[in-house]
Symmetry: C2
Subunit: 364 residues, 2 copies
């Protein structure tokens, strides 16, 4: 019997359906799965295998550690590392056939030197910065690379990529500026594939698709088109179990800091979920949870392991110890919860705690 207090259910069937939806938008371009940060907190192993079932062959992670972990479960996958390569990692990257995204002339030199020393040709990607100012070759380095292609000695170039800074804002002219800059330089480099679009970039139209899109958050159910209805289906459900229900009158406050005082005799349910599980502190006195389709407000401060909700307006039999409450679910999808919490769905997903009991379902 499952008596877990906080439960995260991850619908891999929904991940697969979202993969198919994005692929339809892409037409002939390839769809790579971005599974960094433990697949945005949802579990890289189960998520990557679900994507593979849909035909996904190319995966992106952030760090070498993530790449090595993914390789151990997917011996054949095409695995790319956004952080690129640090001195000392060359041997393991080469042995495990991990492809670093080379972000600078320094990283290109590191990889090229290893290839030459090993008398091998080693595959890699190149990241051209076109406006993020975060990772990638800057304009001066791009120019140097075009003039001195010999720095690529020993390197077999796979993906030439760049990263959009404001893709979720369709009307922002920076998107087209980045697209044009990327198209111009990428066209002069000998890579096999070109890639610019992230989740939101896919929905900017075919001119942003190039050969391959790198999609993460849309697969996991967040809306990549914030100004329009979401084309994605929900993937996650976050539930907490009621431990206790109590009557509270106006003389009493609720929770740490005594931040909530009831305005009428109330019934308050205490639920075994808190910010250590990933339900944000910023939803104190502000979150909205559900029992079935009934809305119940979070009252008092969210604490580490517990959250209190006002169930006064519910029939008593609906709010009893043992009952599960939806903190993210059919009536409060992750986009809406993030919005209320003053954050973005990404932080909700990557913030899920270790203690959560995780259940994977896969319905077609």
């Amino acid at each position: 019997m499952n008596t877990a207090g906080a439960i995260l259910t991850i619908d891999l069937g929904a991940v697969r359906r979202n993969y198919r939806t994005v692929r339809q938008h892409l037409g002939t371009a390839e769809l790579a799965g971005v599974v960094k940060a433990d697949a945005y907190g949802l579990g890289i192993e189960r998520v990557a295998l679900a994507l593979a079932r849909e035909g996904c062959r190319t995966f992106f992670v952030a760090t070498a550690g993530e790449a090595f972990a993914l390789r151990s479960i997917m011996p054949e996958a095409d695995i790319h590392v956004f952080d690129g390569i640090q001195p000392g990692e060359e041997g393991e990257f080469a042995a495990k056939q991990i492809r670093p995204v080379l972000n600078s002339l320094l990283q290109i030199e590191t990889w090229s030197a290893h290839a030459r020393a090993a008398r091998r040709t080693l595959t890699a990607d190149i990241h051209l910065d076109t406006g993020m100012s975060r990772l990638g070759l800057d304009a001066a380095e791009q120019k140097h690379l075009l003039i001195h292609p010999e720095v690529l000695a020993g390197i077999d170039l796979d993906i030439i990529l760049s990263h959009l800074a404001v893709a979720e804002d369709r009307a922002n002219p920076m998107n087209e500026t980045q697209r044009a800059a990327f198209g111009e330089i990428a066209g002069k480099l000998p890579g096999r594939r070109r890639s610019l679009a992230n989740s939101s970039g896919v929905f900017l139209g075919p001119s942003f698709h190039f050969d391959l899109a790198r999609v993460g958050v849309a697969l996991y159910g967040a809306n990549p088109t914030p100004d329009a209805l979401s084309p994605m289906v929900q993937v996650i459900r976050l539930q907490g179990r009621i431990l206790q229900v109590r009557s509270v009158d106006q003389a009493r406050s609720v929770g740490y800091g005594a931040t909530h005082r009831v305005s009428r005799p109330s019934r308050i349910a205490t639920v075994a979920i808190g910010y250590a599980d990933g339900y944000p502190l910023s939803l104190s006195n502000r979150g909205i949870a559900y029992i079935d389709e009934h809305e119940i407000p979070v009252v008092g401060r969210v604490s580490m392991d517990l959250t209190t909700v006002d169930v006064t307006d519910l029939a008593e039999h609906l709010a009893v110890p043992g009952r599960l409450v939806d903190f993210v679910g059919p009536h409060n999808p992750v986009d809406a919860v993030a919005d209320r919490a003053g954050t973005i769905p990404y932080t909700i997903m990557t913030g899920f705690g270790r203690r959560l009991h995780r259940i994977y379902v896969d319905e077609n």
Copy 2:
């Protein structure tokens, strides 16, 4: 060679030193370690063993799952569960000698029924609510218990406890109201130990100490006396590794949403740490990091795996790829970081990501 991009160093010697400091404040009262939520994100196994080295014998966790995990590494410890017991868990609690904190007459009946059916005496605690309105017997249930002590049949009462709502606010009269209410009822119940104080409660003075204090966050280095200098020493250090350093002129923006534009030609370092590692998104364009004793501001939006810092004013050799940057450290302790992030140190600690490379040190 360690090439991890984001590193969390946990000083178990500092945890032990904090344990000794709190114990000195307690005089003869016992000091129990609160190690729920994976010891506030720091790792229950290592932390609990470090506390045991200092003589800690009584531990509190939030959930049954945490208790069972702790039992597997500490066969002799005295383990208590704040959530109490859910129907179905009785057998495993009894077999593993886990002591539930009974929060309601319903939980008392669950535990008593199991004891009677097993013809055993089973140990438990009782939680009296005196103002949190979260868990614990409310006033009506407390009255019922005093009038009908037979509901405790088969239960050997260990700790009678309550929980302070505003202990970090010394001047708040609610502290004394709770203390008086607790003292009155607890004196009428047959428990072996009485407990009211959490970390901040210890510093409210001896009248709050009773037989046992339950201390978590102070052991882990956060200040339990926010209005005064912290009596605790720092336990954690959060570092990220520089991946790349670039020059950015005024025409360029930095990061997602293009939220940062430099006001002079600048050098920006991109560091392999992001909100998936637990560095808060709310520190975008606001956080302060350090290289040695040099302050470097976070610029642009913190992203999932990367954070950008302005290193223009640093000597070039101090900010180079491979170099570690302090995001929580000697110059920016967790209290200060939480304050800047608009949150509390608890959420920073419990929010540390799985991907962090964890290093435990124990210096005396």
